[in-house]
Amino acid sequence: MTEEELRSLLRELRDEPVPADSLVRMRQGLAQRVEARRMKWWWIPALLAPVCLALIAVWFAVPALTPVPTPAPLAVLNPTIPPTEAAPVMRSITRPKAAPRNNMTIRIETPDPEVVILLVADEPKGTGTL
């Protein structure tokens, strides 16, 4: 047999019919395997669909329920203001309350009822007496 005859014989094999029973078995097997694959994953969209819907509903509902943020928390969260600077402010507010604490006043009445001598002195720090 020459090479050309061999090639011709090979080309004839291309047109040979496939046995019908083999084709049927292949189709049936493929259909079963494709169906099994479809059934294997059916629950994923069934589960994901309601979860996605719930997430979308929550996404749109949450902004309406969120309270308007107050300035105070924003000031606390502001990183430009160091927390240590708040303390002097507090001290400056409390200091005036201590001011009227113990000024000493001495009233001296003169013979003239029109003249009264008033001596006013601050109490020295650290002493309880004048």
Binding site: L10, R11, P19, R25, R37
Partner: protein
């Protein structure tokens, strides 16, 4: 979404209808028996189903099917030798009738094909039986055109020897 899924499914079914004979026949030529060929063809189409129908044209689809089939057949050839259903390659008296003679030659050629190494068998099945170009065969087998020509040439020499009844 359902429409897209149905369209993809219809497209897949259409491809299976168009290509089932071709894929099954090629699988038989490469594997040497119909039972393995049926399994291989099923696996090819199942992989197509998983892959999806994203091909730029019919030629790309055909090349993809052949490549998957070739890889499957090489894997199977590693674990099992074919020729379970092949007629014995023995020197016989030629049949008198020319049609009978031709059929007998085809049977012997089919049996001889099963004796070839997997890559040579794939090269000659794709090049000479399926009629693909050397370029296409090289792309499918993942080798160069020169390698494919060499494999086809070696395969033809071996086939002629086997057809004569030589070992």
């Amino acid at each position: 979404m359902l429409e897209i899924s149905r369209a993809a499914s219809d497209s897949f079914d259409e491809v299976v209808r168009q290509r089932e004979s071709q894929v099954l026949r090629s699988a038989y030529r490469m594997l040497g028996n119909w039972a393995d060929a049926e399994d291989a063809a099923q696996e090819v189409f199942l992989r197509l189903y998983r892959h999806g129908m994203n091909f730029r044209d019919e030629a790309a689809l055909g090349a993809w099917l052949y490549r998957v089939l070739f890889n499957l057949c090489v894997d199977r050839a590693r674990v099992a030798r074919p020729a379970a259903e092949m007629p014995e390659l023995q020197a016989r008296e030629p049949a008198a009738d020319s049609t009978l003679l031709r059929e007998e030659q085809k049977q012997r050629l089919t049996a001889a094909l099963a004796q070839l190494p997997a890559r040579e068998r794939a090269a000659i099945v794709l090049r000479e039986i399926e009629g693909l170009s050397t370029d296409d065969v090289a792309a499918i087998l993942g080798s160069s055109e020169g390698t494919v020509r060499s494999q086809v040439s070696r395969a033809l020499t071996r086939l002629r020897s086997l057809m004569k009844g030589e070992r």
